[in-house]
Symmetry: D2
């Protein structure tokens, strides 16, 4: 029974206390922007999820997130015999809880239809109940009226798109034309959809990456190779709801899951260079100079297709310093492909790694 604990907690808060910790996720800011770690898609017992809304907030703190949206289904409420439909329940329960813990909670809901248009998250809304309309177009219009950012979820989900290939249907194109579709999930849970890159580039939409968690995050992503849950990195002017929203509408996002980053080159390139630093040579012998590359991020980088006579591949492990022996025969700059930073459906980031030579 937590009754007394709860009472004690409340009164202790009244007389000062400290909360649980938010983990530091090592990802750099971009010049002029702060990098917000976000997950904009998850469920609770108010639709088909397994947990109470405060669990989602505690999980987010533990994972070091800055912002989440709880997005219970508007049309799929399988627990309604026991938990009456209340489309704003998670928001009402979570708002204050998040505020005292310095987590940005985004009011959201999932418009849940068959394909097309499939499932669409409405984010930054003010009243989910007003969006629960029979016609999907009416629902979307109601969300837009509330200033919503609309995200098309898992466009290649096989339950709705059996061949797994995302396609823009007429309704999507119409939404885009209206400026009403603002982002598409590239990552959803453990899936990703490479073609989404093309759609986002063509129509200037934000790449999104989210967990779509129904169960418990620490059980879903408990293997070391996951590093963290799937997330959307948003480059915002400051750490606030308004700045987050502005950045998302402006499409300033990258997505991250496991050891794979994806984003437009204009964000991916400075992001990579903010993660690493290249040292001056620390030693040399007859044949080689030796220098170090420091990767201060939680993401390893796999450099491949190296310049002739340079190491063909280099792994820059996360939070590590990598020593490199470079043949003195190498005169040209060291150029590499970063195998795990996607900048397009079939493109990866190309970077230079040059020892910081003493002049």
């Amino acid at each position: 029974m937590k009754k007394l604990t709860f009472i004690i907690l409340v009164s202790v808060i009244a007389f000062s206390t400290s909360f649980g910790q938010r983990k530091i996720v090592n990802l750099p800011d971009l010049p002029g922007y702060v990098t917000l770690k976000c997950d904009f898609h998850m469920h609770t017992v108010f639709s088909d999820g397994d947990v109470w809304p405060t669990v989602r907030i505690d999980e987010a703190l533990r994972d070091g997130l800055d912002a989440i949206a709880i997005t219970d289904h508007l049309e799929y409420i399988p627990k309604k015999d026991f938990v009456p439909a209340d489309f704003n329940a998670a928001w009402k329960i979570g708002e204050g809880y998040a505020k005292t813990r310095n987590l940005i909670l985004i009011h959201g809901a999932e418009i849940t239809r068959k394909m097309p248009p499939g499932h669409i998250n409405a984010l930054f809304i003010t009243d989910a109940a007003l969006i629960a309309k029979d016609s999907v177009w009416d629902a979307i219009e109601a969300a837009v009226k509330q200033g919503a950012f609309l995200q098309w979820n898992h466009p290649g989900w096989k339950a709705q798109q059996p061949d797994g290939i995302p396609r823009l249907y007429d309704i999507h194109l119409k939404l885009i034309k209206n400026g009403w579709l603002n982002g598409i999930e590239f990552y959803n849970d453990s899936e990703y959809y490479p073609l989404v890159f093309n759609m986002c580039k063509q129509y200037n939409l934000a790449l999104m990456g989210n967990s779509d968690a129904h169960g418990i995050i620490s059980e879903l992503y408990n293997k070391p190779e996951y590093i963290n849950r799937p997330m959307t990195l948003v480059f915002a002017k400051e750490r606030s709801t308004a700045a987050l929203k502005e950045a998302m509408f402006a499409g300033r996002t990258m997505v991250w899951f496991r050891d794979m980053l994806a984003g437009r080159e204009e964000y991916a390139k400075p992001f990579f260079y903010q993660c690493i630093s290249v040292g001056k040579p620390y030693f040399s012998d007859e044949k080689n100079i030796y220098f170090e590359v420091t990767n201060r991020s939680d993401i390893p980088f796999y450099l491949i297709n190296g310049t002739k006579d340079a190491p063909a591949t280099i792994t820059l492990a996360a939070n590590s310093v990598t020593g490199i022996a470079l043949s003195k025969k190498v005169k040209s700059p060291l150029v590499y492909d970063v195998r795990n930073i996607l900048t397009g459906e079939k493109d990866v980031l190309r970077v230079e790694i040059n020892p910081n030579q003493v002049p």
Copy 2:
């Protein structure tokens, strides 16, 4: 058989390669100094250790160390029927290997006698064979002639000091008088000796903390609560052998094992403040203001004995951000004892944690 692998490796190095990674240990520098992570006591098959010298270097990189000393016993060579005594063997094998990997390898040896004086590590020597003398005094004198820093090892080790209480014998006092004893182990393996703090303060010696590893580091310190092996943090003017030596003779050290730091207040206080940052209030309600304390180090800090009406205790978890609800009734600065930063045999560091108020 690694023969071909070795040949391949050598030729690859000739034509560039990258080495294994050195982990980043999150510990701050002090103003004007770089913090070098060091372990000055370990063994190999050249005395009673279980591994080849290069293993010690690989282990050090994996643990994120800047410097190690391999200190095989001069007088205890139990493997000599199979491995002939060569007091400089580890140095000869390791010197080049360490150089190409940017690890500072200190030439060392352990003078291994019964108490008094017990075991003494000679560090920064040039030829261990010249130190292998019958008389302990001759041995020490030979080491000093080579410019050695002398460290008294595990002064409370029960095999030599059955009551576990470190004592300065005449020979130690004589060494100190000569300026020949320069540091004492406060941590050795899993033991620590609180009284060493007094000795080091009284005679201005460096506090030392080392693994004294005979077996395999990753097996000896494989539990999460160990965080890392025992180590000596040295505050050096730069990352070089010479600067390291200067700092050690000057006594600019702290020691770290598990979640316990120890060092003089003049180092411990700025070290703590470099680890943490205190934010502006991010929220307030009728009763409280809410602010965050960020601990960017790998060491958690346990704040206790808090100011009246402030949280009585606060845990600043490692690499985490801690939210604090502070009663508006609290008008005085927030003062805490840091339970796990020792500044003397029975003293802990006292710190202030005040929200960075908007003026």
Copy 3:
């Protein structure tokens, strides 16, 4: 959205499927009995817990349990603004789910009052709604009428018993006299109450050990030293609800948490001997014989106070074989105290470990 997944799942079940796995917990049966691993105290969103009832069943399978009771509070329903009180909700949701997964789900409820009598779990009930009475005595009587096994929860919980000392109040004694109180929690969550041993012995009640989980089991017990959650081991005639109930009323239980077992000697002794086997000597030299002790259980055993000239202490690690060198001088049987098997408030089990000599 799990809608389609759910539909697919259902149809797949219709056409055969396999469920998630139940971990094998290595604990022996007793002669004539099967050892059922049980947790009789936990909460869901239907009182002050954080999860849906099916989560409790999935957790139980993952932990290798045979039986659980979900015991939401009857009098403390803090989520009732969003989740209407339904005292039988967890049972209704979980019954079929548990059946298809071969987990014994016990219908239960927690009668939640101030001390005395404190909190009492009614187990093996048929309708929790009928137990929700104003008077605690009426509530208990209603439970008994349904055939309930009554368990007094956390009798030394400081929120109700500030000095932490469990006490039998008049109402408890009256319940015992009526045969209505059948067990007392020795373990609750991370606490244990040694004095409960005396009460259970004096009045022939069952020792109980339970998690009282409100949050998520895999997060609450995620450290290696926990081994598993707290649990009650019940020695039943077969693996069925009826046999479980019979065994509990007969008091045939032990309790387990971390590396500590507790139970009456009549169960603890055969349990220990079922866990281990002692081998014939595999080697001998001038001074010693060498033999092995195999511990096939998930619990380590710490043997202390060994017979003269025998090893003073022996650790029989879990799921391991321990080699023992025994001096030939030892003529008497090897007798040890098992430090982590409690058989009374201040008693531990005494055992013999003798090599299985060739005749």
Copy 4:
């Protein structure tokens, strides 16, 4: 310094002690045979390995092995400037150490030549020095004279066989004809060579699987997916050196690494059926019966290509019980391929899984 510790250890042994534990590896015996877990290929500082021989024995106990062979190279002694060549050193150091710990240590050496014949381990020898001959044929003959079991190592190792395809050269065929080649490595370190299956079947040789460890086992195989190091499972009449040797010459082996087992069907089939047990139905409803399959081994089994209307795939997780819902429409026996039990270069084991019906 371990001097005193060592002395204490010795005297304690004289007066009884207990050694470190040998982990229990959950793998069944076959009818009439005991399954010995073995690794017949590893190195120490006496050739190009990194550790002292006793480390290999400690590692083997920790991994739950029954037998190991230390097989230092006869022709490749890169550390000889510091460690003089002594081909029997590891045996001399390890023999007594292994005996008191009940580990079977096999005297071995690696004949290390270019391809053909490549590298050949001589196992169960009596004096490695007598095998160090210039001519490889002389070396092999000398080993055979000592009664050696000869194992061809890593036949597809790219350093010797650049296309990775194992080939029997004339010398191998000649050895086979003489009855002098007795086994071939199917697993070596992290590699495996499917074609070895054909060679072993055609010429009736033992399949072998070994670590070929040079570094530290706990660092080489420290990921959960490895489960354990590569090993050879030998089906011996008893746990003794002689019985092990007899079984190996008789070819009664399987090999195991990660979650992949390989061996002839005559061993693989009973091995699988000893690992699992199939229960009686525990529940049934309109459409299905429900039954459990228990896998008491450390190896998961992946059943695929299931009978029509039965689950298409079933994962029997290690040390777990799997529940299965089986459509009542299924009338024929349930037949599956076990994807991770190889019985030939391209074959997997086919098994039946039928609920143990009440008659």
